[in-house]
C-alpha cells in the first residue's frame, strides 16, 4: 500500500515538473529568489565578519603607524637634544646657578650679604615668606646703594624685584621686595 502511495506521489511530482517546464518565467524567478537568498546568507554569515576583521586590522595598522611616526620624531628630537646637551654640558652649570632646582634661598642670601658688604651697605633686616618672597632693608648712602643695586642687577641668580623703596630717617634706607625664582616654580 505504501509502495502504491509512493508511486502515485512520484507520478504527481513528474506532472508538476512538466508543468513547471512549460512555465520558464516561474523557473527563472525561482532561480533568482534562491540566488538572492544565497547572496544574503553569504553576505551576513561570511562576508561581514571577514570585512569587519580586515577593516579592524587596517584601522589598527593606521593608528599604530601614526603613533610610530610620532615616536620616531620624538626619538630623533631626543637624540638631537642629547647631542646638543653633550656639546654644551660644561656650560650648563650656569643654568643651575641662574635657575636652581629647589629654592636655595640660603646660598642667595649669603651672596647678597657679600655683595652688600662689597658695596659698603649694611643689611638691616631680612624677611622671607613661603621660601621665595623676600624683603630686605639696606642702610647706606646713595653711591653705596647704587653700587649695590648695580651689583645685584648683574648677579647670575634670577630674581624678580617687585618694589624698591627709599626711606630717609636717621640714615638712608632701601627697602626691596621681590621673588626668588627657581625651577620648581616654573614647572608649577
Amino acid at each position: 500500500m505504501a509502495q502504491l502511495n509512493y508511486k502515485s506521489s512520484l507520478a504527481q511530482y513528474r506532472r508538476y515538473l512538466a508543468v513547471i517546464r512549460e512555465q520558464p518565467m516561474f523557473a527563472a524567478s525561482l532561480g533568482l529568489v534562491l540566488s538572492l537568498m544565497l547572496v544574503i546568507i553569504l553576505v551576513s554569515a561570511a562576508l561581514r565578519p571577514t570585512l569587519v576583521a580586515i577593516a579592524s586590522l587596517l584601522g589598527d595598522i593606521r593608528q599604530q603607524s601614526e603613533v610610530e611616526k610620532k615616536l620616531d620624531e620624538k626619538i630623533a628630537e631626543v637624540t638631537a637634544a642629547q647631542a646638543v646637551y653633550l656639546k654644551n654640558e660644561s656650560r650648563l652649570k650656569v643654568l643651575d646657578e641662574a635657575l636652581p632646582i629647589g629654592r636655595k634661598y640660603a646660598a642667595w642670601a649669603i651672596r647678597l650679604e657679600d655683595v652688600a658688604s662689597e658695596s659698603g651697605v649694611k643689611v638691616a633686616e631680612w624677611s622671607l615668606l613661603e621660601g621665595k618672597n623676600f624683603s630686605v632693608s639696606l642702610v647706606g648712602d646713595v653711591p653705596e646703594l647704587k653700587r649695590f643695586l648695580a651689583a645685584l642687577e648683574n648677579l647670575r641668580r634670577l630674581v624678580e624685584i617687585e618694589s624698591v623703596q627709599l626711606a630717609k630717617e636717621k640714615e638712608l634706607t632701601l627697602i626691596m621686595k621681590g621673588v626668588l625664582k627657581s625651577y620648581e616654580e616654573k614647572q608649577d
Binding site: V33, V43, G59, K74, E77
Partner: protein, 66 residues
C-alpha cells in the same frame, strides 16, 4: 498572473534585504576601521621637544657675576 505577482514581491523583499544588509556591513566596516583598539600613548610622551639650545642666553648668563 497571481503567482507572478507573489514572485515579484518576494524578489523585491529579498533585494531590499540585500541593500539593507550591504549598508549594515558598510557601517560595520567603517566603525571597525575608525575604532581605537590600541592602548593610548600618553600625550606627555608624544609632546614635541625642541632640540635647540639658546646659546646667546647662556653667553649672557656666563657674562654675569656668579
Amino acid at each position: 498572473m497571481r503567482k507572478n505577482k507573489i514572485d515579484r514581491d518576494i524578489v523585491m523583499v529579498l533585494v531590499m534585504t540585500l541593500i539593507t544588509l550591504t549598508a549594515w556591513v558598510g557601517f560595520e566596516v567603517y566603525r571597525a576601521y575608525t575604532r581605537v583598539n590600541i592602548s593610548p600613548v600618553p600625550d606627555k610622551q608624544l609632546l614635541k621637544l625642541s632640540p635647540t639650545l639658546d646659546i646667546p642666553v647662556l653667553e649672557k648668563l656666563e657674562s654675569r657675576t656668579p
